[in-house]
Subunit: 306 residues, 2 copies
Amino acid sequence: MTLMRVTFLGTGGGVPSISRSLPSIAISYSGELILFDCGEGAQRQMMRAGTGFKQKLTIFLTHLHGDHILGLPGLIYTLSMLDRRHPLRIIGPRGTRNFLEVLFSIRFGKLGYEIEVREIDGGVAYESRDFFVEAVDASHTVKSLAYRFRERNRPGKMKVEVLEKLGVPRGPLWGRLQRGETIEFSGRIIRPEEAVEPPRRGRTIVYTGDTRPSDEIAEFSRGADILIHDATFGSEFEEDAVKEGHSTARQAAEIALKAGVGRLYLFHISPRYEGSEERLLMEARQIFPNTHLAEDLLSIEVPLPD
Amino acid sequence: MTLMRVTFLGTGGGVPSISRSLPSIAISYSGELILFDCGEGAQRQMMRAGTGFKQKLTIFLTHLHGDHILGLPGLIYTLSMLDRRHPLRIIGPRGTRNFLEVLFSIRFGKLGYEIEVREIDGGVAYESRDFFVEAVDASHTVKSLAYRFRERNRPGKMKVEVLEKLGVPRGPLWGRLQRGETIEFSGRIIRPEEAVEPPRRGRTIVYTGDTRPSDEIAEFSRGADILIHDATFGSEFEEDAVKEGHSTARQAAEIALKAGVGRLYLFHISPRYEGSEERLLMEARQIFPNTHLAEDLLSIEVPLPD
């Protein structure tokens, strides 16, 4: 089993507070490190959380508002000072390349490695052996993407007792069955359904970035193990949420319910709730009981589905 | 007496560490707030230190390397989200305006107030009623300035016993004497030296920014109450210090000794000393005993001179 770890580096929104740094989420999986957004302070939060500055690092930006990206230049130059040579992948909406080009035109220092920028509009944003990342439009004041991290389905377990009874020796024939092939052994046809459990569903994490509640995001989040949703405000500021392109805690919970996710994390918490965040949690739990508040440096291991 | 407070917001150099944020120093004096440099994370350190986001805020940049300036965009946008209307002054070397223009071309968000940029080459950088700030060339790999914060001299105390003996009534005549005028009272000439103590020397803080040890900086620091000096390395890395335009702790102490300052703070500490910083302190104290390590969020009140 491969460990999948989600670490909240920064969980505030717009303006940081004493307890919340600006948005950034790290996913550690199978030797790779994924960052969703990179708010100011992300590099130091990575040090505190001990995520490491992995060679296989890919950064996904939801949109280009300052609070989600201003930790990027510092991180980029720190990686260079730490002698990084491996290219760094940065994936984001249109405008990401210009942002980085403008940034580098300032020449804060020298850069010892390549940056590979990819601008996307949605769809599959990144593929690796064991997982892939997809994007869909969120609903914010500017073009903004939500991301879905999906572990690939893993082959089903072998039905060892059945196979031993049939006398099929461990080895290539087991592998063919596990890959879904029908085999012939000692004159008997064996179909994979007989010898192998159904494939095991991969785990899924959805991060909405900044967004209004949206049917598209609910659909995108269907069945996710973890949904990390914009919950900038409580319901008492719903008008502000509409105006600024955000969601209330209650709306985040409604999406979680609709999408049938496993667990909801309220994210992008406005600094105005410093000291009174429980009210956001209570409001959301009335709709969706398995709701949690994202907290800076909270790190959770995503359990395998049953 | 006016309180003068120095707060170290970030004291690391190049790359932050778990215990040190990137360079930024706040001076609170007479209702104004001065920032020297604005490394990534400065805004959140200001919240933690409780410096407040004062209307009268002036930011001085020593040079345009990323570790000294990348906290500026986030701070600028946070001030706007906190409804600042008062203009913000930013003073730095040539290139500061271009840096800001490039930055704003990215449009992270809207800005509700004016930014007044002033590029300087040295000399008086800023004047206020009770203090002024001067700059001189430091010796780094790029154009870099050292700054001196000087409280204006305050008039001497009135010699109350003398004045009462002479029968001079409190009021305008006392004021004229204190301003250095000679007066005539009851047919007698009274010179200010008779009636007023000598002017009281204002307090001085020098911040070098990134620099090699230099005679010009020693001269600039002469008699300062507090010298905050680059001490990126210990003597064992003197070659790196030369190559990268920095000072060792020992060299910082030598400048402090030469300049006859009151107290030295070692600053811009390399992350490689995380956990072994005492050696920098010991090395410097052999030369200049009143040496201290700058620490993040350390806040000191600068005492009045005797």
